[in-house]
Structures are given as C-alpha cells and as structure tokens.
C-alpha cells in the first residue's frame, strides 16, 4: 500500500474555555483522532455541528497546533517544519473556509483575493499571467471576469463562497481542505463546484478533505468518508458502502435525518432522543468510560456504558467504533 497523503495520528485538541472571570474549563474538540487520507481521493468528513470538524481543518492547515498528536503530510510531520519549509509547503495545501463572509477581506477586490495564495509559488508569475490565472479560475467556479474588479460585499453568500474556492484552487494544491465549502451554494452552482472538484481530482490528482454535513453531497463526490462524533472518528470507509450500510448507529441517524426532494412533509415520528442526551455537555473531560454516543443510541447495552469502543476494522476497508457493529451488519438497513 502506498503511503497516504495525510496521516493523522492520535490528534487531540483542547480549548481552554471560561471567561476572564469565570472558572476555566476545558473543551476537547478533538479526541485522539486517527485517520489517513489517500492521495488523489475525495475524502468526506461528516458529523454534527461542533464535533470538531473545523478544528481538524485548522490543524491540518497548520493554523492551529494540536494539544497532542501529529499530522504527517506527504511524509513530513507538519509541526516539525521550520517556518520557511512550512511556507513553501503551503502551496500544497489550501483551505476553503466555512464562512464566506468573514474569510474575504472587505477591502480587497476579488481579483486580488483570488490571487493571494499565488505568492507562495517558486516562480512568481507575471502580472498578466497572474490575471489570466485568476480569470480562468473565476470562470471555472462560475463567476465572470467583470466581477473580478468588485468587492466581496457586492456578492451574495454563494457568490462569495465561489470566490473562496477559486482562491483555494489557484495554486493547484495537492490537498484542499474544504470546510463546508458548498453549503452556502445554490444547487446548480453546487453541482458545478462538485463537478469541478471531481474533475480536479481526476485530472490533476488533487486530494480533497471535504468537510460537510450534507450527506448527499458527500455521497455524490466522496470516495471515502469519515464520520465524526464529539471529537472522535466513529466510522470510516468507502462513501457508498458507509451510507448504504452504516456500521455505526450514529451514521444511521445521520442518513435517516437527511432530507430529500422525494420525501415530502413531516417524516414519520421517530423516537425522540432522551432529554439527557441533549443535556449532556459538549464540554467533555478526558476520554472517560463508555461510548460518547451512548445517550442517543438505540442499541446501547451495558458494555457501552462501561467500555469506550475503539475504531476497529469490521469489513475490509470499513472501520467503526461500535461494540454492536456486527449487530448492525445483520440488521436490515
């Protein structure tokens, strides 16, 4: 097996919370997360809000440092690089941020914003070449050249996100971390962008870490998918297989909750999760006993309360962190 492009090893990130006057508290945003991403694939990450997806993205971009753990990118540990090496390396990984409004400098014209990452290139492109590349990139994400001279505030949310995507793709990076990159886009543009992403993967071998909560989107483009729950990876495997036959109850909940153009009106009533599940603080301590999903899990058993499940291989290429994975395997989807 070839070495993965990214090798994430036991990544943990704690946030010190609490205010100036309040008691300090710890939020564990990432909890001993381990996973790998193969080069040339689209690797989807799904999970509920606040489960640490953006934190993971920031760490991968070396914008944040983990409390513990390591990220091996292309064979080198990301956090051992000298600032200079890191700077050179940056052209290889780019990011599209979740917030298309805050991530564009309100005082810069679109052309300039998009051209920003170009400066890490070894050969500095000429102005004309730069412009050409910017224009091509804008076309590629469905914006027209005239809009290059405008300011971000003149665009709608979706348009802004396309600008952000254009910016990320312009250095032709090996890896693009797209954090909710298409969630603000309307359908036809979303489709265009998704096509663009698949094309870039296919034609240029760009690897995408595609963070989203939209399962349909992941399903449409991702080769592999990882499902996160409260800072941990709870399931991973080929996207298609994972959604067709989830091996973790949380993945099942996700799949069920996905709205669809073919499901009209209120879905049949599901058992509401027990109140305790919702009251459970997101700020959890060090990995304790028991499964984090326990309060919401329909399959919960005594073992789940006593022993935290670890990620394990259940089928070839499929991993899950659930004591009852085998049970799920047999149950009808």
């Amino acid at each position: 097996m070839k070495t993965p492009l990214i090798d994430i090893r036991r990544l943990t990130r704690d946030y010190a919370g609490g205010g100036l006057f309040a008691r300090p508290s710890l939020t564990r945003a990432l909890d001993d997360l381990t996973m790998t991403v193969e080069a040339g694939t689209i690797h989807g990450i799904v999970g509920e809000s606040g489960c640490g997806k953006s934190t993971l993205a920031r760490i991968l971009m070396a914008l944040d440092r983990p409390t513990s753990g390591d990220v091996i990118l292309d064979g080198a540990s990301l956090f051992d690089l000298s600032p200079k090496e890191l700077m050179r390396k940056r052209r290889d990984f780019q990011m599209v941020f979740q917030d298309p409004f805050g991530s564009l400098d309100p005082r810069q014209r679109v052309a300039r914003i998009v051209a920003e990452p170009l400066h890490v290139l070894d050969e500095k492109p000429s102005r004309a070449a730069k412009r050409e590349r910017v224009m091509a990139m804008l076309e590629a994400v469905g914006l027209n050249a005239a809009q290059a001279e405008r300011y971000p505030h003149e665009f709608s949310g979706g348009q802004r996100q396309r600008i952000a995507i254009a910016r990320a793709l312009i250095t032709e990076p090996k890896l693009v971390v797209a954090d909710e990159a298409v969630s603000a886009l309307d359908l036809s543009v979303q489709a265009q962008v998704l096509n663009l992403i698949t094309r870039l993967k296919r034609e240029r071998g760009v690897t995408f870490l595609f963070i989203t909560h939209n399962l349909a989107v992941v399903d449409a483009v991702a080769d592999q998918v990882g499902v996160m729950y409260r800072g941990r990876l709870v399931e991973s495997g080929p996207a298609r297989a994972v959604f067709e036959r989830p091996l973790h109850p949380y993945t099942r909940v996700l799949a069920d909750a996905e709205p669809s153009v073919t499901k009209f009106g209120r879905p049949p009533a599901r058992p509401a999760p027990p109140a305790a599940a919702l009251a459970a603080p997101l700020t959890h301590g060090p990995p304790g006993q028991g499964c984090a999903f326990l309060p919401r899990c329909p399959l919960a058993g005594p073992r789940c309360a006593a022993e935290a499940p670890v990620l394990r291989q259940v089928l070839p290429g499929r991993q899950t962190a659930c004591h009852h994975a085998e049970q799920m395997l047999c149950a009808p989807a």
Binding site: E48, S54, G158, S188, H213, D219, P259, V261, L278
Partner: protein
C-alpha cells in the same frame, strides 16, 4: 370573516442605488400571499433576491436599496410604517432567522442576553425572567447544557451552535410569521432535522406562518406546503410543493431538480444548468432565463413572458408552459 391574509406582498420592486447615481433593478413585480399557518418555501439561484425580499418584509433593506410596491401584514401597509411602528412588528409579529451565523450575533454580548433582550423589550419581562426564558429557548433549539452556554459569547460557539442561537432569538416572541433565510445552511443533518422539527412544531401548534428560504430542495420538500421559485428577482414558478418538485413546469425548476446531488454510478458529472447567472446589469432580452435554457425558442427572447396560472394554485412564467397548456 374573510380576514386579510397574514402577509401579502404586491408588485414589489427592489432596485439598488448605484454609486454613479443609477439604479439596478433586482426584484421585479413580485407578489405573494401567506395565510396564517401557511408554509411557503422560496428557492432560487444564489443572488436571485431571496434575502432582499425577506429584508424588504422586515423593513431592513440596506440603505442603498429602494423598494416600491406594497407589503401588507394583516392588511396594514408595512411600508407606510415609521421605524417605531416597524419595531412593534419586527420580532413580535415577524421573526427572522438570518443566513449568516458568524456575523449575525453581537460579539460582545452573551448569547443568553441576546435572546433575552427581545423578551425584555416586548414582553416586558424582567431580565432575570427573560434570561430564564433564554435558557429554555436554548434548550428548545437543542443546545446542550443551555444554562452554561447562555453565558457564552458567540465566538465560543461553533457555526451551527450560533445558528441555533439565531433561531432562538427569532422564535423567542412567538411571531405570527417567521422568515427563515437559509436557517439550516450551517447545521448538520441531525440538528437540521431537529431545527426543522422545532419550526414545524411552532407552525403546527401556534399557527405560525413560515416563509422558508433555502436552496436545499429536500428541506423545502420537508417543510413547505407551497413553493415559490425565483430566478433573477422574478417569480418563475409557484405552486404546491409536491406539484412543483415532481412536475416542474418551468425549465429553470427542472434544471434545479436535476442539479440535486446524487451518486452517479457511472462517474459522470452531475447535471448543471449551463452558463452562469447573468449580472443584473446585463439580463438577457425577454425571458431572463433564456440564455441558459435548453428549450429556448425565438419567442422567448421577444419579451418577458407573463405570469400565468395554468391551474388553480399553480403559477408559472414561461411561454412554453403556456403553449403546452391544454386549452
């Protein structure tokens, strides 16, 4: 009593003032009505004027926007109201959830206080009581450990959490009409389901009308009895959701439906609508969709097609739809 509809928008035009003094029309001749308890979905291309429409109803258009037409709430012309009058309407009669979870909250105020504020103002609650109510509301929008989180500042929350705070602010005063501008864009599906459930509940139990803006057709299908499709500020199609989504009459609606992401076994690209959204400054002659429409004919470019109602409860703007209509 054949009361006035809860909301009725009549012939609304919205134009943006340009720096050089010119005007750029965005929303054109838009009309819609909403009865109490109605749920209306609005879908459309990004930049098609959905947010402007909702802001117009709230009376919060940006200073550069000029609106004309009428917006009636329970028969009262909102556009004739002064700011104090509108303040009584905003929040209380019409609540709004904004598209932008990251910037829509005051960074210097705890989320609990931001929720409580409206209650103190309109329901004349004490701050203590209002803060209690805020904790309940946070709980209702499924924020874990609401009592502690009420004291958090927006930057300490994830995007989804912030959006739920935004929802809590909007539902706090049980408005008669809720305008939700892409309320679940930043939410994961389970929370989205829960939030939609909350909104559904409010509509069902309290007769709240809902105007839901989304480009997620699944969400629209889940939530809305009726759907309005906008393109470049124009109504393209309107009708009951099932009808619109299963038997679209406008080529744009059909394009949208085809673009819904789904796994392609053959690895072929997803269907898209060709071309890009034209800027409002250079809309094509005739039908605004004509330059991207696969079924375009010469007549499409001759003049803007009229709004027609081929069936009860169904409206469409397309000459082909008219032509194909059985007499």
């Amino acid at each position: 009593m054949s009361a006035a509809p809860l909301l009725s928008v009549e012939n609304l035009d919205i134009a943006m003032r340009l720096p050089d003094g010119g005007r750029l029309p965005i929303v054109k001749d838009l009309s819609l009505t909403l009865q109490a308890g109605d749920t209306l979905g609005i879908v459309g291309e990004s930049g098609s004027g959905k947010s402007l429409l909702s802001l117009a109803v709230m009376g919060l258009l940006p200073p550069a926007a000029i609106a004309s037409g009428r917006i009636l709430l329970e028969g009262r012309d909102l556009m004739a109201l002064d700011d104090d009058g509108m303040s009584q309407v905003r929040g209380r009669r019409i609540g709004m959830i904004f598209q932008e979870p990251m910037t829509a909250l005051n960074p210097a105020m705890t989320v609990g206080d931001q929720i409580a504020e409206g209650l103190v103002r309109h329901e004349k609650l004490s701050w203590k009581a209002a803060r209690e109510a805020a904790v309940d509301l946070l709980d209702r929008v499924r924020i874990p450990d609401p009592r502690a989180r009420a004291r958090a500042y927006p930057h300490q929350m994830s995007g989804g959490q912030r959006q739920r705070v935004g929802i809590a602010i909007a539902v706090a005063m049980r408005p008669a009409l809720m305008i939700a501008d892409e309320p679940t864009t930043a939410l994961d599906v389970t929370v989205q389901a829960e939030v939609l459930e909350i909104l559904d509940d409010l509509c069902a139990r309290e007769g709240m009308a809902l105007m839901l803006i989304s480009h997620d057709l699944g969400v629209i299908a889940r939530m809305c009895a009726r759907t309005l499709v906008l393109y470049a500020g124009r109504r393209m199609e309107e009708g009951d959701t099932r009808g619109v989504l299963t038997e679209p009459m406008n080529p744009y609606t059909r394009g949208l439906l085809r673009a819904v992401p789904r796994r392609r076994v053959d690895g072929a690209p997803l269907d898209t609508i060709p071309g890009t959204v034209p800027g409002f400054a250079r809309l094509p002659e005739g039908c605004v969709f004509s330059d991207r429409c696969g079924d375009v004919v010469a007549a499409c470019r001759a003049g803007e097609p009229a709004w027609t109602q081929p069936r009860p409860n169904r409206g469409v703007r397309c000459i082909r739809a008219q032509q194909e209509m059985p007499a």
